[in-house]
């Protein structure tokens, strides 16, 4: 399991109801079920991944974040997880709203477009940056809504979400040390992870 998935798992209380949106090969939900007795389910867009997950006995359905969250009733889950996908959905704000409607908490991770290497590349080459995290050219990238950690914080403020926990992580998923400073995290964090809840709880 990736280190960032382990960090997500640490945020989730045992026996919780979890929906993993973009569950990939099902690693996280399998881990949550086996080690935390969670009722963990997945939605995945890639059919091969779906088949592999179901063949491993995991409750995963074919679907995607933009279209399939609207069906669930309010508060169906304790946590709704979106790993490294927010930048690739059609309507990120609406997806977040749905996540925090059907779940009491949302755990969101995304690659940080504010990382210094991206800023430097754009500045020095004048071209769309390419890094190990942002590794597809502009014309074929699925990442149509990149954002920085600051952008995301602003959106959470506008939408009235409470940030219960946040951390910056490097590409391998290891926790980065700039926990105290958003400015530093936005410059040096390759990825960010947020635990959110609705205001007024």
């Amino acid at each position: 399991m990736r280190v960032d998935q382990r960090l997500i798992a640490e945020m989730i209380a045992p026996r919780a109801r979890v929906l993993d949106v973009g569950s990939g090969d099902g690693t996280l939900i399998d881990y949550l079920y086996r080690t935390r007795s969670c009722d963990a389910r997945g939605i995945e867009i890639d059919m091969q991944n779906v088949t592999q997950s179901v063949a491993h006995g995991l409750p995963v359905m074919h679907g995607d974040a933009d279209h399939d969250l609207a069906d669930y009733p309010d508060d169906t889950f304790d946590y709704v997880v979106l790993q490294r996908t927010l930048q690739a959905v059609e309507r990120p704000r609406e997806v977040l709203r749905q996540m925090l409607r059907i779940g009491r908490h949302a755990i969101v991770s995304f690659p940080n477009f504010g990382h210094w290497r991206l800023r430097l590349q754009l500045l020095t080459t004048g071209r769309m940056p390419m890094t190990p995290v942002w590794n597809t050219p502009w014309y074929s990238t699925p990442n149509i809504h990149p954002c920085t950690i600051r952008d995301f914080l602003l959106l959470c403020e506008e939408e009235g979400y409470v940030i219960q926990q946040w951390l910056a992580i490097d590409e391998d998923g290891a926790r980065a040390p700039w926990r105290r400073s958003i400015r530093l995290a936005n410059l040096f964090g390759e990825q960010a992870m947020f635990l959110l809840r609705r205001a007024g709880h």
Partner: protein, 396 residues
């Protein structure tokens, strides 16, 4: 070559199927009380002492209870022998698998060929109209008789999937896991239309005799054969037909035009024509026309949402059943879009649902054929459900 009356179920030897006779009968949705009720069934594997390992497999429109053994009527292997057996995805070393002939059928369960106790004659076309709920209620009586409270799983493809859904809707506490495959929560207008053409073909047969053909020692073989031919096209796909037959023409003694005769419009026969005729003629030997009409009508009536205030989520609210919905990419009879409607409704109900569309170019029939991804899906879903079932048992 032609579909003509052949010795078949109308006058052939009567095979005695294993069946349970329930004198208490069954109250049908139409108001008729059907008694006695006979349910023909087969079982495979052993029921566990805790009686918690039973899987009910529901057959499709023209299927039967001979799931995983040689069919005594056709001599062919059971219709799902590749899926059900020791070590197979539905593992009879581990599970007690039950399959029964549906109500209205012609393989031993009460249907149009059964004797009506009031008249002392066979029901024939007077057999009361039945619904998917009646079919499932009859199965439930068999399951009661077998001493099983909660089924570990109900699995079925096509009309069998309609039954699996009906089980989950009508008996939520008795279904731990449900696997509706290549099916739909309602019969579409297009499918009703196909059924209507099938039925009209049967009605147009001079041997139909208003459904009392057996009194005349006849069967509407031509009509039933045409019905089957047309239905069979809907079970395949354009791609599968092209691959299997293409535009190839058959050249054999039966179809060859004698040299002396004048040129004929139908002197040659495409292989696909020959194949369909064979499907039609072999079908009439094993299936009863009145059963075909009764069961297709039950499919037409099927609409779970309409029965629950128009919301398909309603019958599944608070359901604890684990669902696995499976569709096939080239199935145009029960397309993926209909499975997706079902999945969305199950999500609205907050049910635990897995959903897979299997990539296949073989159309609706793919669920009966060799599809490795499908096998893996069934095996995995059952294994996962078993783990959860054990977990729950341990908590008690």
């Amino acid at each position: 070559m032609d579909i003509s009356a052949s010795p078949g179920i109308a006058d052939g030897p009567v095979y005695t199927h294993q069946a349970v006779r329930l004198d208490s009968g069954l109250d049908l949705e139409c108001g008729v009380h059907l008694a006695p009720l006979e349910v023909a069934y087969r079982t495979y594997g052993t029921l566990s002492p805790a009686r918690d390992n039973a899987i009910l497999v529901c057959h499709a429109l023209t299927g039967d209870q001979y799931l995983a053994e040689r069919n005594p009527l056709t001599g062919k292997p059971g219709w799902w022998s590749r899926m059900v057996g020791p070590g197979l995805p539905i593992d009879t070393d581990r599970y007690f698998v039950v399959c029964s002939n549906v109500l209205g059928g012609c393989m031993g369960t009460t249907g149009p060929r059964s004797i009506c106790t009031e008249t002392g004659k066979a029901w024939d076309s007077e057999f009361p109209p039945i619904t998917m709920h009646d079919i499932v209620a009859a199965q439930a009586k068999l399951i009661d008789h077998l001493g099983v409270g909660r089924l570990f799983a109900v699995i079925g493809g096509s009309m069998g999937g309609m039954q699996a859904l009906t089980w989950a809707a009508d008996f939520p506490d008795r279904v731990f896991a449900a696997m509706p495959i290549a099916t739909s929560p309602f019969h579409s207008a297009q499918n009703i239309a196909f059924n209507e053409v099938s039925r009209q073909a049967i009605f147009a047969d001079p041997d139909w005799h208003d459904g009392h053909y057996r009194d005349f020692g006849a069967i509407p073989a031509r009509g039933l054969g045409v019905a089957r031919m047309m239905a069979h096209i809907t079970y395949l796909s354009e791609e599968a037909l092209s691959r299997k037959f293409g535009r190839r023409v058959r050249h054999d003694a039966a179809t060859a035009v004698p040299a002396s005769s004048s040129p004929s419009l139908f002197g040659e026969m495409f292989e696909v024509e020959s194949y369909l005729r064979h499907q039609g003629s072999s079908f009439v030997r094993r299936f009863d026309a009145n059963s075909y009409l009764t069961i297709t009508r039950a499919m037409d009536y099927f609409d779970l949402a309409a029965e629950h205030d128009g919301d398909l989520a309603n019958p599944f609210r608070k359901s604890q059943t684990r669902f696995c919905v499976v569709s096939f990419s080239s199935d145009w009879l029960f397309p993926t879009s209909q499975s997706r409607l079902l999945v969305r409704a199950l999500n609205r109900a907050g049910a635990n649902v897995s959903f897979v569309e299997i990539e296949s170019d073989r159309g609706h029939d793919a669920f009966l054929l060799e599809e490795p991804d499908f096998d893996r899906t069934i095996r995995g879903f059952i294994a996962g459900a078993a783990e959860h079932a054990a977990l729950k048992a341990g908590e008690r």
